[in-house]
């Protein structure tokens, strides 16, 4: 049994307006930063999974990300390459 540390990034789907991202973007010029755009704000989740193999651990994280961490109606997610931590 090994232990894997995953990171999951959840973002609003590209077509959807992201009011948080826009608010951050609109604040940038007032703070003196020019030429910055495309700001999107998402969610970053870290979790540790005990499993026999990395594939098994990843399958479990996929399911968690699909069913709980993201809502497929409005969001998409990506799972970053895990780190073996024990």
């Amino acid at each position: 049994m090994s232990r894997y540390r995953f990171e999951v990034v959840v973002m609003l789907k590209p077509g959807l307006a992201d009011p948080q991202g826009k608010t951050v973007e609109d604040a940038l010029p007032t703070m003196g930063w020019a030429g910055v755009g495309g700001v999107r704000v998402g969610r970053h989740v870290e979790l540790t999974v005990d499993a026999a193999t990395e594939d098994e651990a990843r399958a479990r994280v996929e399911e968690i990300a699909d069913r709980l961490l993201s809502n497929p109606v409005i969001e998409e997610h990506r799972i970053l390459r895990p780190e073996e931590v024990g």
């Binding site: 609003l12 959807l16 307006a17 009011p19 608010t23 709980l68 961490l69 809502n71 109606v73 409005i74």
Partner: protein, 234 residues
């Protein structure tokens, strides 16, 4: 004849469960408090998921609550065609649970809105609007940070074609326009229903608008419709 029993589920972080129970009692039904850990609905005729911030609205509004033990019973209840009403956070939970289409995301202008709005009844073919004529304008309050209704193009088209938009934000005279849309909802949608019309979700709070002594009573008609629907089934 015994009066119908209407359950109101309390989740950790629910805020409007007491007002919902009171609204049910004011309308002459028996109010039954239910708990998120319950595995059955105590035989109620209808169930209300109230407003609030269930489980702190962590992750997304309603995302954790949809996995509460009571939700399996709510699902079965809805599956039998029995009435389910989701108000505000309850609407968000029903969308997360897949009992209603679409999703509620952060308000277009980001800030929390807390004010009275008008909504126009678009459909009387639900158990909660059966006593209302389409076009009727109701005075009800909203208070939410994540009330912008969104859905993909096919979902929105289907809702429109199937008459499943139940309420739209509007002016006091029933006109539609961005000026009266408090959160940027697609097609000014304030509430939708399931295919069979037994599950309804809306962002405004009818349970806060039932007592003419303290303000507009635009919410009464929803509870009156529910009571009439339940009595008609007996």
């Amino acid at each position: 004849m015994t009066s119908p029993r209407v359950g109101v589920v309390t989740f950790p972080g629910s805020l409007d469960d007491r007002d919902a129970l009171r609204a049910v009692r004011l309308m002459g039904a028996r109010a039954v408090p239910l708990w998120h850990r319950d595995t059955d609905l105590d035989g109620v005729d209808a169930v209300i998921l109230p407003g609030g911030f269930s489980y702190g609205d962590y992750l997304r509004a309603g995302a954790i609550a949809r996995f509460a033990p009571v939700m399996r019973a709510v699902w079965d209840h809805a599956d039998r065609g029995a009435p389910v009403l989701g108000i505000c956070n309850g609407f968000q939970i029903l969308c997360e649970a897949g009992l209603l289409p679409g999703a509620l995301v952060r308000n277009r202008r980001v800030s929390f809105v807390c004010r009275w709005v008008n909504v126009r009844v678009e459909s009387s073919a639900t158990l909660f609007t059966s006593e209302l004529s389409p076009g009727t304008v109701l005075d009800v309050p909203v208070k939410h940070g994540e009330g912008q209704y969104v859905g993909d193009r096919d979902t929105l088209r289907a809702l429109g074609e199937e008459g499943r938009v139940v309420f739209r934000y509007c002016s006091a005279r029933g006109e539609l326009g961005e000026a009266w849309n408090p959160n940027g909802s697609a097609d000014h949608i304030a509430g939708v229903c399931s295919e069979r019309g037994n599950v309804v979700g809306l962002m405004p709070h009818p349970e806060h608008a039932v007592d003419p002594d303290v303000g507009p009573a635009g919410g009464r008609a929803l509870f009156e419709s529910l009571l009439a629907s339940l009595l008609a089934r007996v």
